[in-house]
């Protein structure tokens, strides 16, 4: 594969996974300095995506594809347009900085290598999500982001809260992922292609399809769960249990935006309908307000940021939902700005926490003189978050107000936006002012500026936010407008200005936001008490609801298991064999296709002899007095069968049969000695009669089935194929082996995986020791 050009994107996609494999080893030898080396990989990926930008800005799009499962239209294909490239730049660029930051933040941590490994796995997955063209490829990467997010949230797995949050995030986003898969496949069939790039042109077909509503609901479910939209917003603040680099990267700058990405990606196909323009803005708007209100209540700086992230995601969904070109341009600028300032602010809070020992906003203060660089980053980023000039956040807010003002139902959406932004202004002020200015507060640790690794990321992102504001015209032309065009499906290029060129309604709205924000900031402490009281009065939220749902499911499962699993082996065996007998006889009775008894008399003498050995073996089993004797005797019958295989020219089969018989005898004997069974048979005589009839029925049924099968006309196609090609294609004379390792090799992979899993399961079962008191093995402490 070439090292330059569009095809090289495949290398950029592979890079993070390579870094993930290298991380544990490098971290072992280089400690935290491994971050410097490893950061090169995402940096190279960043350069690769940057090299595509000029082409994209000219309106080109790029595609590349590798065959994966062509039979089912599943390809490993990528599609690069304005939307995917900007996302890829954010992921790889911020990823580079986060790698450095993680090295500093977890300096000296024994599992640093593992952490970096998870982080890179996530990075690879996330890059895959945004550049994937094929919907199945997209889905696989999408799920991988959920799984890596689970691993990262649960990184500190010894703490119960971490485990709970990790499971919660996985259940919510993974559940949404399933809905998304159904939605994408449905869309693929309706639109006639599994490639997004082709699907994008069949918007009219999909919008008029009878399945439009179904596709819409499924895709939106996937997006809402991932992007923490109300009522699924609860998992995101809980995910703050993860180490701060994770929060900065996954839960603000990248992963949680995957849902927004998806909505933007699907906008040309699913957008611009009444359903879209109602559901999305309403839920987005509610999320915006819920997020900011819950944010006001928090005193933990990280949680304040988490809730404002929820709010920002709501704002993005709302803007995307308006389907108005200017509003979407606003969403694009805001998304870009948000990734910069929120990533930076999270890193700032992490550094404050790391250096001062707390991130409670009542216990920090006046840190600016001690941590000037971190403080500068905080101030710049907070200005961008508050939407003040000359930062890129200001431009975002101007454009988005302009968009909502002119959109359908614009008054309502503008109201949501102003209210939400005002609260965000207040929260931004809190995050920047509280820790760094005012009277010095005694912190648990004596605070000082963080190491280079710790401060590099936040200050870089903060300065980028300033630079993007200063050069907004060219950033807009190169990066932002192409993305807007991709979302709209039609070219869009309006020049952006840092300062408004005329007195538009947007400017007045901005001023109103700032005024309102200052008021909220002044009464922040009072508001916090009010919100806390209100929440205490309600006393229920989706977070609690999640626990309740889980509990109901677990109770149901316990009840069901206790009903079905009686713990009696005899019952299990009887149930299993009764079903086998039914499966064998019911079709024969219903269709009347009984096998003809023929060919029994034409046995050779030695065949009768072997059959007699088998029968004697079975008789001996039945009359044996001890179980171990019976087991050994069972082997006789098995060996007789193996002999028959041998006589009919199946040496491989016979060979295997011999070994399986031997080993089953050994293993069964071992199992039997383990179980504390009564020496005599405890079954009642009625039970014995039932078991005898059942076994006779099963035996007769299997024999009759085999007889029916050999009486069917034999189709030699396959065996002829194997005989003919075994030597020429697979270079082997033993057809059985060639089938196993070559022709049907994928089956064998499945089989050995089953053998492997069975081994693990048996091992686990053997290790379970019954508890001395009671027989409850259920692990309550998850």
């Amino acid at each position: 594969m070439p090292l330059f050009g569009v095809e090289a994107t495949f290398w950029a996609l592979l890079g993070p996974f390579v870094a993930a494999a290298l991380s544990p080893f490098l971290a072992k030898t280089l400690k935290h300095n491994a971050a410097w080396l490893l950061a090169v990989i995402p940096a190279l990926a960043f350069l690769q995506f940057l090299s595509i930008v000029p082409g994209i800005a000219e309106g080109q799009t790029f595609k590349a594809s590798l065959e994966w499962v062509p039979t089912f239209n599943v390809n490993f294909s990528i599609y690069l347009d304005g939307l995917s490239v900007l996302f890829a730049l954010l992921i790889s660029g911020i990823g580079t900085l986060i790698t450095l930051y993680a090295g500093g933040y977890l300096k000296g941590h024994e599992n640093l290598g593992q952490f970096l490994s998870y982080l890179f796995l996530f990075m690879g997955a996330m890059l895959g999500v945004v550049v994937a063209d094929n919907v199945i490829t997209l889905f696989v990467y999408w799920e991988l982001t959920s799984i890596t997010s689970f691993l990262l949230i649960g990184f500190d797995h010894l703490r119960r809260a971490s485990r709970r949050s990790a499971v919660q995030a996985l259940v919510v986003t993974g559940g949404g992922g399933l809905a998304l898969m159904a939605g994408l496949i449905l869309a693929g069939y309706q639109g006639g292609s599994f490639e997004l790039s082709e699907l994008l042109n069949s918007g009219d077909v999909l919008r008029e399809s009878p399945y439009y509503t179904a596709i819409f609901i499924l895709v939106v479910l996937g997006a809402f769960t991932k992007s923490a939209q109300f009522p699924f917003h609860f998992w995101l603040p809980n995910a703050m249990e993860a180490p701060t680099p994770v929060s900065a990267y996954l839960h603000s700058a990248t992963m949680v935006k995957a849902g927004v990405y998806l909505l933007m990606r699907m906008h040309p196909v699913l957008g611009d309908t009444e359903l879209w323009m109602t559901v999305l803005p309403i839920f987005g708007g509610i999320t915006l307000l819920v997020g900011t209100i819950l944010g006001i209540r928090q005193t933990d700086l990280k949680l304040v940021l988490a809730y404002t992230t929820v709010a920002s995601l709501g704002l993005l969904v709302m803007l995307t939902g308006t389907s108005d070109p200017v509003a979407i341009q606003g969403a694009v600028i805001y998304l870009f700005a948000h990734s910069l300032f929120k990533g930076s602010l999270f890193m700032v809070v992490g550094t404050v926490d790391h250096e001062s020992g707390t991130r409670d906003l009542n216990r920090v203060g006046g840190l600016f003189s001690l941590m000037p660089i971190t403080g500068t980053a905080a101030v710049l980023s907070a200005l961008s978050m508050a939407g003040l000039p000359p930062l890129v956040g200001f431009v975002a807010k101007e454009v988005l107000y302009d968009g909502t003002w002119h959109a359908v139902n614009g008054g309502l959406w503008t109201g949501f936006a102003v209210l939400g932004n005002a609260m965000m202004f207040a929260l931004a002020a809190t995050v920047a002012i509280k820790p760094f200015f005012g009277a010095k507060v005694k912190t648990p640790k004596v605070a000082h500026e963080g190491t280079v690794l710790l401060v590099a990321g936040s200050i870089t992102l903060a300065v980028l936010g300033l630079a993007a504001g200063a050069f907004i015209a060219s950033v807009g032309h190169q990066l932002l407008s192409p993305m807007t065009s991709a979302i709209l499906g039609t070219p869009f290029d309006e020049e952006l200005h840092l300062f408004p060129t005329y007195l538009s309604p947007a400017l007045y709205l901005s001023l109103a936001t700032i005024a309102l924000g200052i008021i909220i900031f002044m009464y922040m402490d009072k508001l916090r008490v009010i919100v806390a009281d209100a929440l205490r009065t309600i006393g229920w939220g989706p977070d609690k609801g999640f626990d309740q749902v889980l509990e109901v499911i677990i109770r149901f499962a316990t009840a069901l298991t206790q009903t079905v699993q009686t713990g009696s082996m005899v019952t299990y065996m009887r149930a299993t064999f009764t079903v086998i007998a039914l499966v064998l006889f019911v079709p024969m009775i219903l269709t009347g296709n009984w096998p003809k008894l023929q060919g029994i008399g034409s046995f050779y003498a030695y065949e009768w002899f072997i059959a007699a050995i088998a029968v004697i073996g079975v008789y001996a089993v039945l009359t044996a007095r001890y179980r171990v004797t019976a087991i050994v005797l069972l082997g006789i019958q098995g060996f007789a069968v193996a002999l028959i295989y041998l006589l009919f020219g199946a040496p491989d089969l016979a060979f295997t049969q011999f070994m399986v018989e031997t080993l089953s005898v050994v293993i069964l004997a071992l199992v039997m000695t383990r179980l504390n069974l009564k020496p005599t048979d405890a079954r009642s005589s009625r039970g014995k009669v039932f078991d005898i009839s059942l076994s006779v029925l099963c035996g007769a049924g299997i024999s009759m089935l085999l007889m029916s099968i050999i009486q069917l006309p034999f189709d030699p196609t396959l065996s002829e194929f194997f005989t003919q090609y075994s030597r020429t294609i697979a270079h082997g004379r033993n057809i059985v082996n060639v089938i196993l390792v070559d022709f049907r090799g994928f089956d064998t992979i499945g089989e050995i995986s089953v053998v492997m899993v069975t081994g693990l399961a048996v091992l686990a079962l053997i290790r379970v020791r019954p508890k001395s008191n009671g027989n409850s093995n259920s692990e309550k402490n998850r």
Partner: protein
């Protein structure tokens, strides 16, 4: 069962069986044999050794945890599927390499490695089951 004769013979018997299992594994592509059967023979060898000399002796002889052997076998089998991708062929297309060695020709192939993987999985997983059962029987 734990007679002196059995205890004396068992190590030699299991060593021979191990050798035989490898022989069966390697001839598999052309003659009766292969990874599954070879693996089962090797497990029997371990079982005999274990019955005669105790589980800890078997574990020492195996060096690695049986499940690690099984896992590396699975990995080997899956990896042997990939080389054809480098020649722009579908995964699992067998690749052959004929190596002249001391006057004869050795056929190295991806199916061979695949079969070795199968062998290791069978050996690891089944002996792991057998050994842990024997251990608890002690």
């Amino acid at each position: 069962m734990n007679t002196l004769i059995f205890r004396t013979v068992a190590p030699y018997l299991s060593a021979l069986m191990m050798l035989f299992s490898v022989f069966v594994l390697l001839r598999g592509h052309n003659e009766p044999g292969g990874g599954f059967i070879g693996g089962l023979i090797a497990v029997s060898a371990f079982a005999i050794y274990g019955i005669a000399c105790g589980v800890s002796a078997v574990r020492r002889a195996m060096k690695f945890h049986p499940m690690s052997i099984a896992a590396s076998g699975l990995l080997l089998a899956v990896v042997s599927v990939l080389p054809s991708l480098f020649f722009s062929q579908p995964a699992m297309t067998s690749q052959w390499l004929a190596l002249p060695f001391l006057g004869t020709v050795i056929d190295l192939s991806t199916p061979l490695f695949f079969d070795i993987g199968v062998y290791l999985v069978v050996v690891g997983a089944i002996s792991s089951i057998a050994l842990s059962l024997e251990e608890r029987a002690d």
